[in-house]
Subunit: 197 residues, 2 copies
DNA sequence: TATAAAACAGACGGACTGGTCGGTCAATTT
DNA sequence: AAATTGACCGACCAGTCCGTCTGTTTTATA
């Protein structure tokens, strides 16, 4: 019973790493098994099939990662634009090797799988929706506090911000050039500054 | 000799469609063969292996598609911002079903494969570099013509524009929601407007 | 038309892959 | 103590999939 949580979590964590490196379609069940030391029967005891394992990675890992990195910071933010810029600056100008070489795990999976499998698409879309509405809310609150221009539409701008962050991280990964990432971050921050009152 | 071009081109075109739908790793050689009516021996006469077929799709198809859609319009443009907005408006507010459901073929492949295989990454990066420098050049020329703000750095802004376009198309695909695409396009156009003199 | 080279055909190899299935064992329940 | 539960095991299977190999046909050239 206690072991169950361990095995299940172990599988999800390792599956995430493999998916992050090789994509979902490039991930091999046997490799996940080898690297965790879990037997095949155990995996198929916890998950119906390979897809369900992937879904669990999205639902139970990527969701939390996104919340921690991009959503939590807003919870107690005074000025949403300051907070956004701080987060972006932190990730874009001091990127880990992981980020430059492998990009954003959510975006990678999204671009690979949302065309191929509807189960992935819906789950990933849920995360993006959450992220968008978190930023939209923060912007709206920022407007009433007088931090954000009144003439912008929070929803639309939030959608654009999320899309741009994903796009910039993707561009950084493709080029493997830290300057591309920095340039993107720089322009993105300029844009965010333009939203101030 | 004439047949050779036909067979080769036929394979590349069909491989592109399969890759666009299923990703490269999800593409099956046998399916490409069935759908073209080409025999396996013929394919392996023209291409060393599956990767080489994929590389040919990038070099010979995606490159031209990108040039036609995103680069050619600038060749004779007076005001680069007008031209950019026109192109974006055209694609984002009147998107084909293809674009909403399957996104940008270049970006899909980029996000899937640039982590997995260096051959793909380099080829794809080449296309993005071309695209970026095309926009950067146009912006710089636009500055000397007095259409574009003097205080922006063309290179950085071009990098951001390309990344944002890719990000917005990806966001549209994930959500399968035409409004997401439109909202993104709207905000992107606002940003481009802010670059005018 | 003879000859060589290029293009094409498709059966086959065999490593690999996702998934199955009968069985074990320790912990709970009755 | 007997019965039951459920996590876990790992050999095995059926099917997949890339790539090879042995020809045959077509085309170019002399």
């Amino acid at each position: 019973m206690t072991q169950m949580q361990n095995t299940r979590e172990k599988l999800i964590k390792k599956a995430f790493q493999e998916i992050y490196r090789n994509g979902f379609q490039g991930t091999r069940i046997d490799i996940v098994l080898n690297k965790t030391g879990v037997a095949k029967g155990a995996l198929y005891h916890h998950f119906k099939d390979k897809n369900e394992l992937g879904y669990a990675v999205v639902d139970e890992l990527l969701t939390n990662m996104t919340i921690q990195t991009w959503i939590q910071p807003f919870e107690n933010a005074q000025n949403p634009i300051d907070e956004l810029i701080a987060t972006i600056d932190n990730i874009f100008t001091k990127p880990t090797k992981q980020i430059i070489q492998t990009g954003c795990p959510l975006n990678n999976l999204a671009q690979e799988m949302s065309t191929v499998d509807e189960g992935f698409r819906k789950r990933i879309d849920k995360i993006y929706s959450l992220w968008r509405s978190s930023i939209a809310d923060a912007l709206t609150k920022g407007q009433s506090k007088g931090f954000v221009r009144e003439d912008i539409e929070s929803d639309k701008v939030a959608t654009f911000i999320v899309a741009s962050i994903a796009g910039c991280l993707g561009a950084g990964k493709n080029s493997r050039d830290i300057n591309v990432l920095k340039d993107c971050g720089h322009s993105l921050i300029n844009y965010l500054d333009s939203l101030r009152c």
